[in-house]
Subunit: 218 residues, 2 copies
């Protein structure tokens, strides 16, 4: 068995390894987990001994197959619980992250599979992130964001790249939730601020906001 802490490190390393192609740096992990680089080094050594990561001093870490499997199963759990919290317990999409962060560590195969079935095998969580299937296969978003669109183009909101409470809450106020249809009306050349149509209502949205909103052209 692995501790909650070990699992959180694996998850962080997994997440960070999606961006870069090389090994994940100590500082990046420390940042992601709000801890100190020295603590990270210690934990990496422990994970390396357990063959959950491969690691050479000063060269960053990579997950092994075993480590990646664990990370993915925790992500699966996390996202299934988020679906449960939103769909069954009526939480809002900006409220579920922290709770799911705790629930995800109750990592019992049988519980996960029963939950998956109870929720009718959802493919995406309430933020549009794909839920790995029970074999660990996971669809990766192509990540077209609102900011990639040109004037006149139409699209549907399918996810977010930023999960902070404040961002999610802001989007909800603008009715920019999953499934919302948008059309670009105007783009300010200077700072890429957009004027868009959401449910026939005009909305002004900054580049900071638009580049974190994942959409699908239609």
């Amino acid at each position: 068995m692995n501790s909650f802490t070990e699992e959180n490190y694996l998850k962080a390393i997994y997440k960070l390894s999606l961006n870069g192609t090389q090994g994940v740096s100590t500082n990046a992990i420390a940042d992601e987990l709000s801890t100190k680089p020295s603590s990270v080094t210690d934990m990496i050594k422990k994970l390396a001994e357990k063959k959950l990561v491969s690691y050479q001093k000063y060269q960053g870490v990579n997950l092994t197959k075993k480590g990646r499997d664990i990370a993915i199963s925790i992500i699966r759990n996390h996202r299934l619980w988020e679906v449960f919290l939103v769909e069954k317990l009526n939480f809002k999409w900006d409220e579920v992250h922290d709770l799911a962060e705790e629930l995800e560590h109750i990592n019992t195969h049988k519980l996960t599979e029963r939950l998956d079935e109870f929720l009718d095998f959802p493919k995406f969580d309430p933020h549009g992130d794909p839920i790995p299937d029970k074999n660990g296969n996971i669809i990766q978003h192509k990540d077209i964001t609102l900011s990639d669109l040109k004037i006149g183009e139409k699209a549907v909101v399918v996810g977010v790249k930023e999960h902070s409470k404040s961002y999610l809450n802001y989007l909800e106020q603008l009715q920019l939730v999953l499934g919302a249809e948008v059309q670009i009306q105007d783009i300010v050349e200077f700072d890429a601020t957009m004027r868009i149509l959401v449910n026939n209502k005009q909305v002004i949205i900054s580049n900071q906001a638009s580049k974190n909103l994942i959409v699908k052209r239609n």
Copy 2:
């Protein structure tokens, strides 16, 4: 915030204080939690500092109001999750204890209340144990057991006093589940073994088993 460990101590002390009337002894807690008396002493000191228990050296401990409130809210959580696991995820009554033991510590007021509502405010868990309401009020069973009945008497199974997997599994095989109707046909004078009728089927049951089955006469 309190750690999982602290919460487990509070729960253990609460449980043990239901039996005896005096303070709960160090050894009893050690036994309940499968730990050593010296560890218990250490933890008790910590809980006493936090004003969760009252404690005088060598005199046993008692929960304070604050400590009891926490214990009861954890028990509430535990039992609500058990209902969820059995009713929504189709687990059997002998499978849910350990999972609920983990879920109970995700002790967020909002989650508990939403779960309670989702489950339609159940009054009893899958083993017949009463679920404390949101104010911490808890109905105490009168604890009439099958072994208290006389020949000819009829009753309904409403709970168990022993929660081991093997006992629960055994009961299920005999169809002695919650709501089952039983009638006493015969009692062996020597060792109180009973011959009873469960759903019109004859069953022989030892005193060890019958004295842990809570029933209600009808």
